[in-house]
Amino acid sequence: MRTMDDYEMDPAEQEYWLAQVARLVDELDPVPPGLVERTQFAIAIEDIDAEVELEAARWADISPLAGVRGGAPGTITFFVGDLTVMVNVTRTGEKQRIDGWLVPAGEHGVEVRVADHGSSATTADEGGRFVLTEVPRGTTQILVRMNGGKPRTVVTPTVEL
């Protein structure tokens, strides 16, 4: 049973424990190297139109993604609201091929931005499928520009592909 006395700390001890928390914050759990730059890349989207809704998608299921983060190709999924996008990445030499599938299907614009390598764009077919070949590897962001109904652009956080 704790009493109020257990909570008492003299100022020197407060200082000591606050310094411990500061060490945890600064040294044990710092912002990962490159996160600021990756974020600056993620928000440097061209053609932001005030009339077009911008929605940030979330990568589904963190754990399989961890494998992709490690550099192994595979399938990853992101979603926002009712839209789900599955992306399959295959290495082709130095570059890679991206096969994607939008659900629900629609002939939406798809853009893949790679940091320091510009971007590649295509349009999904009526079944919601799209293919991009010869995509450079690196810090990658995917945008889906949805037409039909209220125009909106879905953007993902970056992922290392």
Binding site: A42, I43, I45
Partner: protein, 204 residues
């Protein structure tokens, strides 16, 4: 000559130059609305540590927190026109980060948030930092003790450290932390940390 000088000044001195704290943040928000490239980059560079530690304080692992950081800044890009009080952008970031982090947490792997009592017996769920960061036994002990604190204490203590720094003074105002004083709640959290640390030390 005068015109040339003026142009030169406009190019080399962005509107936030020389400003600090909320005035600097407000100048960046206003410049971003006016299409000034780089204004949001300044906010991202200076305030990402805050967003990071708020999301980590909620209990997300480092990978999930990376996504939350980017999602929050994308949300700012989207809402920059709608921020009614540019000086209060830090408050907006705190609120948005908490909401986004909680949303990510409840979604994550269908996991139900563990009560502190249960969580205490499942130490393996601690969101670990990079292994090499925890070199010494002392660091491991500190890490382990800190993550046995309840979530409220973890967030409060992380923010207390940030709020004590000049560039984040606005956090202290927002959270109503009087400068130079540790209120009863933070005292209880610090004291709990001390207790957990010593428990992990075999009751030194």
């Amino acid at each position: 000559m005068g015109a040339v000088t003026e142009l030169h000044t406009a190019r080399t001195n962005p509107p936030w130059e020389g400003l600090e704290g909320p005035e600097r943040h407000a100048a960046c928000v206003i410049a971003a609305r006016e299409g000034h490239r780089g204004a949001l980059d300044v906010l991202v560079a200076e305030l990402t540590p805050l967003v990071w530690h708020v999301a980590r304080g909620i209990g997300l692992d480092r990978a999930a927190t990376e996504d939350v950081v980017q999602t929050v800044w994308l949300a700012l890009l989207r809402h920059v026109e709608a921020i009614t009080e540019p000086k209060a952008v830090v408050g907006w970031l705190l609120t948005t980060t908490r909401r986004e982090a909680r949303r990510t947490q409840t979604r994550g792997n269908g996991q139900v948030e563990l009560s502190p009592e249960v969580a205490e017996h499942v130490p393996s769920t601690e969101p670990m930092p990079e292994a090499e960061a925890l070199r010494s036994e002392r660091d491991q002990q500190l890490w382990s003790a800190f993550h046995k604190l309840d979530q409220r204490c973890q967030e409060l203590l992380r923010l207390t450290v940030l709020a004590g720094r000049a560039e984040y003074r606005v956090v202290a105002e927002r959270l109503r932390m009087p400068h130079g004083s540790i209120g009863p709640t933070r005292m209880r959290c610090l004291s709990a940390l001390r207790g957990l640390y010593h428990d992990g030390d075999g009751g030194r």
